[in-house]
């Protein structure tokens, strides 16, 4: 009996060992895809080493598709058309693509692997996205959990972006985090200032990138960014521009306001800034200065739970409340809405805008969600 059990155990161990060896051999030879050719827009050929994702392969060739999540398959910003040379749709792509996109051969570049020659299409403007070497010249506390980070560009030394766009910040390994990650942050500086970018970064509990920025990054250190990216920018129009942003969501709004000021755009502009207490407010002086610079601009900070010692006599309530009051007495026929902040705030505000007749095609937001 014992002999039989021993033989059975040894047989199982032998079969398992054999399968493991086959797996190792298969990985070594079958997963070696060698050189592959990626043809972009029928104009440009890249010869690359196969085996990596399309996103990282293109990155290695200095072609950067938008990505807010750093290639984790969560933001769906790296969509591109893959006409040939790719397998069937992956389960990780399905939730992030609609029926029409699937029919149009749209794929997520961070999920698709380069295993053979590929034919892809990407918008021409994406060739403007570059990797920048920068130096941190300022880290400033804006609130207890938001920092302003200024990055002076070294190489290339100039960036050209639309106010409202974002860049990806690439972390360095720190503490026990061994690999770099990249995360998207809206640019807060003016788009006519080409030699630096300002970012406003809020500490996310246990966040990989924000913990690095808040606890490990120092002035004078070098960091890399990739950008510019995103389609959150000022649209043409005649009507009022209504902005809503709280916390670090203020970043692209500051950039938009700087553009409006610089270009003397003569539209009515109203900005609702939501915070909980007075200590959560920041950039108040800068906003008051912009009120002086922009002819028809009103900055409306609102506190949802002011402390008695705040002596607050401004707007109160959740940001949706002053917004609702304002929209109920304004002409919204041609107004545009620009929102940035937490998904919860954005969703709530979109409902208020729609209720007051501002249709979804006139509401712009960049939730990075």
């Amino acid at each position: 009996m014992i002999t039989k059990i021993l033989i059975a155990t040894l047989s199982m161990a032998g079969i398992s060992g054999l399968l493991a060896i086959i797996l190792v051999i298969a990985e070594r030879y079958l997963a070696n895809y060698g050189e592959c050719k990626i043809t972009i827009n029928n104009q440009k050929d890249l010869i690359v080493k196969g085996g990596s994702t399309l996103l990282s392969t293109l990155n290695s060739q200095k072609i950067f598709l938008p990505s807010a999540c750093g290639g984790r398959g969560t933001c769906a910003y790296c969509k591109c058309k893959v006409i040939d040379g790719v397998g069937p749709l992956l389960p990780t792509e399905e939730p992030l693509l609609n029926k029409q996109e699937i029919e149009n051969q749209i794929r997520l570049a961070c999920q698709v692997k380069v295993k053979q020659d590929m034919l892809i299409e990407i918008p021409e403007e994406l060739f403007n996205i570059k990797e920048f070497e920068t130096r941190v010249t300022l880290i400033q506390d804006l609130t207890h959990d938001i920092k302003l980070v200024r990055l002076q560009l070294i190489e290339p030394y100039e960036i050209f972006f639309k106010a409202g766009q974002y860049v990806q910040l690439i972390t360095a390994p720190y503490a026990g985090v061994k690999e770099s990650v990249s995360r998207a942050y809206s640019v807060a500086s003016a788009s006519h200032e080409h030699d630096h970018v300002d970012l406003m970064i809020r500490l996310v509990p246990e966040g990989i990138c924000t913990t690095w920025v808040h606890n490990y990054l120092n002035e004078n250190e070098r960091v890399k960014i990739i950008g510019p990216m995103g389609d959150f920018y000022l649209r043409d129009g005649e009507g009022e521009i209504i902005m809503v942003a709280g916390g670090s969501g203020m970043a692209p709004i500051v950039s938009l306001l700087e553009k409006i000021s610089k270009e003397d755009i003569e539209r009515k502009v109203t900005y609702f800034f939501g915070a909980v207490r007075k200590k959560d407010l920041f950039y108040i002086d800068e906003m008051r200065n912009l009120e002086n610079e922009i002819g028809n601009f009103t900055f409306i900070p609102a506190l949802s739970a002011p402390e008695p010692e705040d002596n607050w006599d401004g707007e109160t309530g959740l940001i949706t409340e002053p917004l609702d009051r304002y929209l109920s007495r304004s002409d919204n026929a041609t107004s545009q809405a620009y929102l940035c902040g937490s998904p919860g705030m954005i969703n709530a505000c979109i409902n208020v805008f729609v209720k007051h007749g501002i249709t979804r095609d006139r509401i712009f937001n960049d939730p990075f969600a």
């Binding site: 999540c69 398959g73 969560t74 792509e93 939730p95 690999e179 509990p205 709280g246 998904p343 990075f368």
Partner: protein, 152 residues
Amino acid sequence: MKLTPKEQIIEKNFKLGAITKDGFMGDDVRHVHDIIQHDAMTLEKLGISSGELAARMQFFIDLGKEAIENIVDWNEYTIQVIWSRGMLPCPFGEPRLHHKIFIELRNNKLNKSIRYTQLNVHLIREHGFFEGKGSPFRLEPEELVEVLSLDQ
């Protein structure tokens, strides 16, 4: 032990810096299956299913979400939900994403607080996984059941 490619990806996902800063295992040296099994036995003793627990946790998240980061008082509870931009994938590798929602929940009657995320709710509901001991978002089933008043 030779792992399949899928198991290799899952194991990597649990490590620090892969999906979250501190990973999901803390300083727990047990295999993830052993952690799940041990916590399942605890839940069984408490007479609560992981589904019931997750539903109660989700209830408080939904309550706090409405307040857009403001503190909410509800019965004996004080709730604050912070909803950051971005999504997190499940470390078990399934193709579903989870909002970066963080909740601090205080049971004023017991004078006890817990904190958890939307991903915690998913991990408990779908995988019975409370994270490894020492992980910043490890939840002790007994404490969770007590603070959520599911033991009454």
